[in-house]
Symmetry: C2
């Protein structure tokens, strides 16, 4: 039924792993998760993918792990880097990109479920932290460091803190749904933080309306 792979790479003996069934399982995971609103069961996964339960157990430790692999694989390219852009613009775009990812792609809903599952699964938590959260944080942190080097940002900026202030509200609203999570939120977060972290007075490209700003 599954005849796609060519066992390229290491010349391992034996029947090669079928990429068709692997992708069918990953697709089934995201589909069911989005439809059902929660992490699907292994049974449902196998049925939907037209695959034996045994196969899933062979390659993944849990249904949440399948879901995580699907998420990470689909959206690992969703981070752009533009070192040529001004720091403030680049950071704003990163935050906007995450907000858009959460609201306009399945990533938001999946992430919400995976974050919940990670509370009782240490390995899943570590994987999401290392492969989802950290890369996006690092990208912003790099831009901030660039700003410090350029002298447009204060030298004593607590980068981790600023990254938290920019990102945490997005995740918080994704989880609790107590306030809208839209594109404007990203820009407003940057506007709120920038006066404090910018070096002295008028700084780089205010991105938005220059409403009587005033730094410390």
């Amino acid at each position: 039924m599954n005849t796609v792979s060519t066992n390229r790479g290491a010349g391992k003996p034996g029947r090669p792993r079928s990429q068709a069934t692997r992708l069918a399982i990953l697709d089934a995971a995201t589909d069911l998760a989005l439809a059902g609103g929660c992490v699907p069961t292994i049974d449902a996964l196998a049925t939907r993918a037209g695959v034996s339960r045994t196969t899933i157990y062979k390659w993944w430790p849990s249904a949440a792990a399948v879901l995580a692999e699907g998420l990470l694989e689909r959206f690992h390219e969703s981070i752009e880097f533009d070192d040529s852009l001004p720091v403030r613009t680049a950071v704003t775009r990163q935050v906007e990109a995450l907000a858009r990812l959460m609201t306009q792609t399945p990533a938001g809903a999946l992430l919400r479920q995976l974050q919940a599952a990670s509370a009782s699964d240490e390995r899943l938590s570590a994987a999401l932290l290392a492969r989802w959260l950290a890369p996006r944080r690092d990208r912003v942190a790099e831009h901030l460091a660039r700003g410090i080097d350029q002298g447009t940002l204060r030298a004593d900026v607590d980068v981790d803190l600023v990254v938290d202030v920019l990102f945490a509200p997005l995740y918080h609203r994704l989880v609790w749904g107590h306030a809208p999570l839209d594109d404007a939120l990203a820009r407003r977060l940057c506007d709120l933080v920038w006066p404090t972290i910018a070096a002295d007075v008028s700084e780089t490209t205010p991105t938005s309306h220059p409403s009587s700003r005033r730094a410390s």
Copy 2:
């Protein structure tokens, strides 16, 4: 075994609900949740509390609901209001109080598990939002509104956004554990936000030494 209640209030006929068993169940829930690191099963709950499973099912829809009731009942008094304090001091103390609640009481661990459980339980999510998150947000929002009235804060402050910026990083670090969650975090968050939201120049009582120190 259980003879505590007096059925005071409405003169309802029949045997009154035993407060002793109710509290035993709530205690068992928090104890097991803290020990096990996840929401306990109804079976474990009943065994630990020395109570029949049927009794639990009669009063709560799920184990998470029991846990939520225990959390909300124990910590609903943990919000102080000091309208006499300067706005910045009052807000800082609110954020510090939440940070301390998360790290130095069982509330943090319980909240982490309940937040996870709420992803697949709409009623639990609504209850936590209304009875845990909202009251604490409202308290800070009131202080901010007071500052706007007094003229110490800008009139165009987005209160919801500021509250998110102050609180979200705490919840975010509680969940992901990617950065330390200590008392200093609360003060640093306020320091980061205040220059932007304060009305014009030098503002109300900087609470602490006037420097947001530390680079990463």
